[in-house]
């Protein structure tokens, strides 16, 4: 099942590479917009890369369940002995492996391009590694809720973005603290948030999917 998800995401028309390309594109446009002053970019870089990462992760979300729903395979999956909670968990893992993980691996490069010092780049990468599973988890809930909506891709960001505020605050806050030479608990809070979301999300997502299949 996980293998199937991964293959679907990486084959032609898959969204894994698209999310990464989107992430790079946003990160490229920002210096064009705010100017190329490296000191300024270093100040705002962490926040911008975090917002770009959240947006990039959202791109692939609307197809998470919708594609399977449209061609009927979601009904078959729901009838299979595999509980929907497990299916949701697999979908979350697959989404993270195809968006969160590549984005995290790309972060050191983009961090350097934004003039972040090495320590801050390291924290940025770590914070993305910890925080992106939370994005996948919360996103999966919204993807389950909107799977039957034809233009679900439009409504999904409105549902997810306000809920993701803590992730962005803690993620970018951790990097900011390193820049200011302080230490704060941002990474710990981020980890707690992510962990809680990933634990609870499969159940809520399964409930959301179930209500769309029923009736």
């Amino acid at each position: 099942m996980l293998w199937r998800e991964l293959r679907l995401a990486t084959r032609a028309g898959g969204s894994a590479l698209l999310a990464v390309a989107f992430f790079i594109a946003v990160a490229t446009l920002v210096p064009l917009g705010v100017g190329v002053d490296l000191r300024l970019l270093a100040r705002v870089g962490a926040g911008i890369l975090w917002v770009a990462a959240v947006l990039a992760a959202l791109l692939a979300l609307d197809r998470l369940f919708q594609a399977d729903w449209e061609d009927g395979s979601l009904d078959l999956i729901a009838l299979s002995p595999l509980p929907l909670e497990t299916v949701s968990a697999i979908k979350i893992v697959a989404h993270w492996l195809t968006t969160g993980l590549p984005l995290t691996m790309l972060a050191p490069v983009l961090g350097l391009m934004f003039g972040l010092p090495a320590a801050a780049t390291w924290t940025l990468t770590l914070s993305l590694l910890i925080g992106t599973p939370g994005i996948s988890g919360l996103g999966a809930i919204a993807a389950g809720l909107t799977l039957s909506i034809r233009r679900g891709g439009l409504i999904l960001p409105l549902l997810v973005l306000p809920l993701l505020a803590p992730v962005v605050i803690f993620g970018a806050g951790a990097v900011q603290a390193v820049l200011d030479g302080l230490s704060n608990g941002a990474l710990l809070f981020l980890g707690a948030f992510s962990l809680a979301v990933v634990c609870l999300s499969p159940f809520v997502t399964a409930a959301a999917v179930r209500l769309n299949l029923a009736g």
Binding site: A142, I155, L159, G173
Partner: protein, 239 residues
């Protein structure tokens, strides 16, 4: 509990609400009139001058907006557990009202902020979390409107409302952690840190806003029930 479930029957709710609605409306008018009058004749604050009077519009609006989300989450919980159509309707009716009070809180707050803080908007903890609260309301309303099947929309929106309700304290905490707003001055262990001349009008306007919310909520629930009846009559189904 038994009384609440008795009202969960739409027919009985319609009968009961028709009786108490005029009283609610009268109470609202009275409390708002007295509250605003006391607010207007209250002496100017020694620091804020007459600007302090915006407080009587602003603070109750913010309280009501938060209370509305609490009620939204509570009715959503009821609708998920007991599948009462009335709690669906109640949750649906609460959302636009909550969004309205949130906007009212934001606008009056920003009008107060201009003379006091020298700016209409700062990215302060409470302002930011209120903006996020507004977005949560908008997302909830958008989800309701996007799903055509009514029962399905109700349950999807209910799940969203509960996810939002769980997340709201975390958002609140993270935004606080991130940061001009004054600290808590009413609900403090050592008693309210606010002069009595201001406390009374504030309490009465808060009561007025709450009653106003209750009145509008009841009206909206009634309208929604009537709309659903009209629709099922049109479809030729038994109401």
């Amino acid at each position: 509990m038994a009384g609440m479930f008795a009202l969960a029957n739409p027919k009985r709710f319609m009968d009961a609400s028709a009786r108490f609605l005029p009283w609610l409306a009268a109470g609202t008018t009275l409390a708002l009139a007295v509250g605003f009058f006391l607010g207007l004749v209250a002496p100017p604050d020694y620091q804020q001058g007459d600007t302090v009077k915006i407080m009587f519009l602003h603070v109750p609006a913010a309280w009501t907006a938060m209370m509305a989300y609490g009620l939204l989450a509570l009715t959503s919980l009821f609708s998920l557990i007991w599948r009462h159509p009335l709690s669906d309707v109640a949750a649906k009716a609460a959302a636009p009202l909550g969004a309205l009070f949130t906007v009212l809180g934001l606008v009056t707050g920003s009008l107060w902020g201009r003379p006091m803080w020298g700016t209409y908007w700062v990215w302060d903890a409470r302002l930011t979390s209120f903006l996020l609260l507004l977005l949560l309301y908008l997302g909830y309303i958008a989800l309701w409107n996007a799903i055509e099947d009514e029962a399905r929309a109700a349950r999807a929106a209910a799940i969203l409302a509960l996810v939002g309700a769980v997340n709201l304290p975390i958002i609140e905490f993270s935004v606080n952690w991130h940061t001009l707003h004054q600290g808590e001055s009413i609900l403090r262990a050592d008693g309210p840190q606010i002069a009595t001349v201001f406390l009374w009008p504030l309490g009465i306007t808060a009561l007025g806003y709450t009653l106003l919310f209750a009145t509008l909520w009841t009206i909206r629930i009634r309208t929604e029930i009537l709309e659903r009846r009209a629709r099922s009559l049109q479809l030729g189904e038994p109401a």
